[in-house]
Amino acid sequence: MASNAAVPFWRTAGMTYITYSNICANLVRNCLKEPYKTEALSREKVHFSISKWTNGKPEKPTIRSDSSEE
């Protein structure tokens, strides 16, 4: 249990720093007031299609399309 470095809670939960900062940014965006809030949330949309290849063969592509990071 004791480790030399104090690893932050999110690192032990398996998140990378990028995921952590995206969640924090989403929390900040949710604190905005109404007209700016919808504008900011519309900037957050994510959409791409990713396909992992093993040994020269593609697997089925998955579409990663979430409207916001939660």
């Binding site: 470095a5 690192r11 720093y17 959409h47 992992k52 290849w53 040994n55 020269g56 592509p61 990663r64």
Partner: protein, 325 residues
């Protein structure tokens, strides 16, 4: 009188000689849709064919002009974003340096390209540089893998580097580009790919006519440690004070992930700018070529028209003189 005779003779010869515009609809296309041999062995193309060609070239010219304007407006929108994003990775380069000559075992080449075509040669140059990097970094116990963004690079790299491909990502530009999108993407790459050094290949946007292919290198935290020990720019890392109770290894890992995300963001934006700029210049030269083609076709059309009129006249006059004579 003479004109009436001319017109009557003209109609009789209609199937052989090119028809007047009014009778164009009634004339039979098959007889005219290939090169006709005139009476004296004069070969000329039917004006019907030339006219159709001119119509299609003109509409192509209009389309390419419209595409150029669309690309110009998209470029304006993205350019400010790209220039603002340059400030994100510059501190990282100042701190950690950009070492393209680093010698590592596991290289991953991230090739950034566009999904749509008609944008000149930028995708081919990116793929050429990626292949060059692959060759440069191959050797005993060294391996290079590809992560491909965009349909165009996928089409080229799938042909001969199938077994080295790790991930393919497409449909990136469906929503306007934002940091959130690119960071989620970077996260996926970090989770799925083992790497010692990531080399990102993209086209840097210097100006509307110049797109320079560049490579940015992001190192994994272990390699940063190793390089720090060997001195040089990274050796100064120890002189920085670390606050907040984290260790140096911790910080390096966070920094490395964030660096990758920032560099990817900038690379994707710059590549998008280059794509729009290249499309603008490609469509511009295409419109100009279409204009040249139209000029040449107009000359051919007029020449053909005049030749057919002359031939008709000759026949009528020789027929008339034969009758008299």
């Amino acid at each position: 009188m003479a004109m009436a005779a001319l017109r009557r003779e003209g109609r009789r010869f209609a199937p052989l000689i090119s028809p007047r515009p009014i009778t164009a609809v009634r004339s039979s296309p098959p007889a005219l849709s290939h090169e006709d041999e005139g009476p004296i062995g004069v070969r000329y193309v039917s004006t019907q064919v030339v006219r159709n060609r001119m119509k299609s070239v003109k509409s192509i010219q209009k389309i390419t002009k419209a595409m150029k304007m669309v690309a110009a407006s998209k470029l304006r929108a993205i350019q400010t974003k790209a220039e603002n994003s340059r400030g994100l990775w510059q501190p990282f380069t100042a701190l950690l340096g950009d070492l393209p000559s680093v010698d590592v075992k596991k290289n991953v080449v991230v090739t950034i390209s566009s999904d749509k075509g008609l944008c000149g040669g930028i995708n081919s140059t990116s793929v050429k540089i990626s292949k060059g990097l692959h060759k440069l970094n191959s050797g005993p116990e060294k391996e290079t893998k590809y992560v491909i963004l965009g349909e165009k690079a996928k089409a080229q790299l799938v042909r001969d580097s199938k077994k080295d491909i790790e991930l393919i990502i497409t449909e990136l530009q469906k929503n306007p580009l934002s940091y959130t999108q690119v960071s989620v993407l970077a996260d996926e790459i970090l989770k799925n790919v083992e790497y010692d050094a990531l080399r990102i290949v993209f086209n840097k946007f210097h100006s509307v006519v110049s797109f320079v292919p560049t490579v940015s290198t992001v190192l994994s935290p272990e390699i940063v440690e190793r390089e720090a020990e060997s001195g040089g720019k990274l050796g100064d890392l120890d002189s920085y004070e670390i606050e907040g109770g984290e260790t140096k290894g911790e910080i390096l890992q966070n920094l490395s992930e964030f660096q990758f995300s920032c560099v990817m963001f900038n690379a994707v934006l710059e590549n998008a700018c280059s794509e729009q700029g290249a499309r603008m210049s490609a469509m511009d030269s295409s419109s100009r070529n279409a204009g040249d083609m139209l000029d040449r076709l107009t000359l051919t059309y007029n020449r053909t028209r005049q030749a057919s009129i002359t031939t008709e006249l000759i026949e009528i006059i020789s027929g008339a003189s034969a009758l008299e004579g």
